[in-house]
Each structure stands twice: as structure tokens, then as C-alpha cells.
Symmetry: C2
Subunit: 168 residues, 2 copies
DNA sequence: GGACCTATATATAATCC
DNA sequence: TGGATTATATATAGGTC
């Protein structure tokens, strides 16, 4: 009964932590679903965690596959017709920032940068895991350490939850 | 006063939709923050949307950069020391599934598959955008259409919110 | 539009099986 | 553990400026 105000801190008790994780993951998924529906945003989410044997996806496994497949079939050219203006007029999206390259989208650079980072990170994550056929948890665990341990051999202790949301 | 039970459907009114989007995005961020803290999960979130001129990140721009940078500096080998057992003993994570390759993690295959999909998808997204210096919104817009339009030239109307969560 | 302000709708911690 | 249950803590739609 949520009688406790939930101190925002790491839950020491393992079972409690797991229980909370599952509940909140579910809640997060629901929120994504609602945001998607209410704002007309197409989205898919993939949540991977050591708690679940299978990655959890939204809206559904096939839904995720479909979105990805459809995207792949798009001729690259068709994917880039500029339509900032159209978007604005049709849905008032797009808040063009001043002083941006006229022909490009104002956020292109930032997005590209982030995508590159994510992309590279995913690649490394995938490669390393495949090479050793090892759990990716360690990787995440290490990445977690704010400073040290990174180069050392002292493996991290807990952690290991990977959640990847890709909402388009 | 949330007097209304909020019909879970696309919000036609533009300003209302935007207002809702901003509120819910904030709520989602908070939820991610809480999940991260409560469950000891290191995470970063990147949310890009046409409503905001800059991508929104969590825990902070520098925090995201740091996590990514640190991860990159990891020697690939160091990233994969198996530690399923350690994790279990230390934090009771890792729920080993029976009948899996003894040396690999049970979820490796599934994860690898998803990562590949996401990875490829991100690459395509990035490449196409960079080639034309165009907004990636169109891409998302198209991907949204459940069935048609995909191959046609009739561009989508609204949409354009990209949210990419990468929680590790 | 953005920044509050509530009244309600929801999320969820704690408990029991 | 994995569900239900339910009392509270939160999230937030709708108003008001």
C-alpha cells in the first residue's frame, strides 16, 4: 500500500529490488504506450534485463519486427524528403531553431552525434559479447562505475540491467 | 485536475497534445531516474523530439557523455570477463536459463539479435539523414504508418517525435 | 505558450497467499 | 517467487493568470 514514501535510494534487499524493478518496468512500458497513443508517436521499446529471460518489447515482438522491417524496406532517398514545413503546417511540430543551415534540419547535427555514439556503443557491446559469448551484463556493470574499475580487473558487483528504448 | 479519465487516443488539439507531451516526457524522465536509482541501474536517456530544440538527456549532458566515453575506453577484452556467478552472489541478478551454452549467457542470442536490429536501424537512420542533411522526422513518420504509405510518395502528416532511450 | 494549482486518475510498496 | 489487494504516494488534465 505504498505506505512508505519510498526513499529514492538503492534497494538493498534483492527480492524487493527485483519486485520493484518488475513493477516499475511495467509502469514505464505503459507510460510509453500512452505517450505514443496520445501524441501520435510511433514507437517501439525493447527492454532487456537480467531479471527477464527474454527481452521485453512494446508494443509486441511482431510489432517491433514490423517497424524495423518496414523501415529497412524504405528506399533511402524516400526516407529523407524534407518536410519540416509540412510537419509544421499539418501538426505544428517542428520548432525550427534560428541560424541553422537552411537546407538541413536544425537538430540533425545533435541527433547524428548522439546516434553515432549510441551506434558505436551498441556495436562494441555486440561485438564484445559475441566474441566471448558472454553476458553483456559485465559491460554494463563496468560502464556504471563512475570513475575507477574501468580498466582494472576488479569486476563490478551488481548491476546488469540493460534497457534500450528506441522510440520513433 | 485530471478530471477527465483521459481517453487513450490521439489528442487532436495541437496545443493540448504538446502540453501533454511535455508533461509526460518529464514524468517519463523522472521514472527512469527512479528506476535507475532504486534498482542500481546505471542509465542515461536521450530524448529527441520536434517539440524541443535540443535533445533532452538524463542524467545530464555531461553524464551521458561520460558514460559513453568511459565505455569506449574499455579494452574490449576487459568488457567481457564472465561474471554471471559473481553477479549472482553479489546481487542475485542473472537468472540463468537451463539448457544454455555453458560458457555463454542465456540471453546472448536474443540480445545480439535485437542489438543488431537496432544497430542496423540506427545506421540507416544516421546515414540517410547525413546524406541529405535532412530531418529524420520523415523517416519516423513513415515508419509509423502501420501499413501503407511506406513505399508511396505520400508523405506522412504529423508525427516526428524521436525518443531514444539507452539505459544501461 | 509557460508557470502554477488542484482534483482525480494512476502507479506502486507493502502484505498476504 | 508470482499474482492479487489496497492504502498511499504520484502523475497529470484542465483551469487560471
Amino acid at each position: 500500500m505504498t505506505r512508505k514514501k519510498v526513499k529514492l535510494a538503492f534497494i538493498a534487499n534483492d527480492s524487493s529490488r527485483k519486485a520493484t524493478y518488475k513493477k516499475r518496468k511495467k509502469g514505464l512500458m505503459k507510460k510509453v504506450n500512452e505517450l505514443s497513443t496520445l501524441c501520435g508517436i510511433n514507437a517501439c521499446a525493447i527492454i532487456y534485463s537480467p531479471y527477464d529471460s527474454n527481452p521485453e518489447v512494446w508494443p509486441s515482438n511482431s510489432g517491433v519486427q514490423r517497424i524495423i522491417s518496414e523501415f529497412r524496406t524504405l528506399p533511402e532517398m524516400d526516407q529523407n524528403k524534407k518536410m519540416t514545413k509540412d510537419s509544421q503546417s499539418l501538426g505544428q511540430f517542428e520548432e525550427t531553431k534560428e541560424g541553422q543551415p537552411r537546407d538541413g534540419d536544425d537538430r540533425s547535427y545533435l541527433i547524428d552525434q548522439y546516434l553515432k555514439d549510441v551506434n558505436r556503443r551498441i556495436e562494441i557491446l555486440g561485438n564484445s559479447r559475441m566474441e566471448l559469448g558472454e553476458s553483456s551484463n559485465n559491460v554494463a556493470a563496468e560502464a556504471i562505475q563512475t570513475v575507477p574499475i574501468i580498466h582494472g580487473s576488479a569486476r563490478v558487483s551488481r548491476v546488469d540491467v540493460h534497457i534500450t528504448f528506441v522510440i520513433l
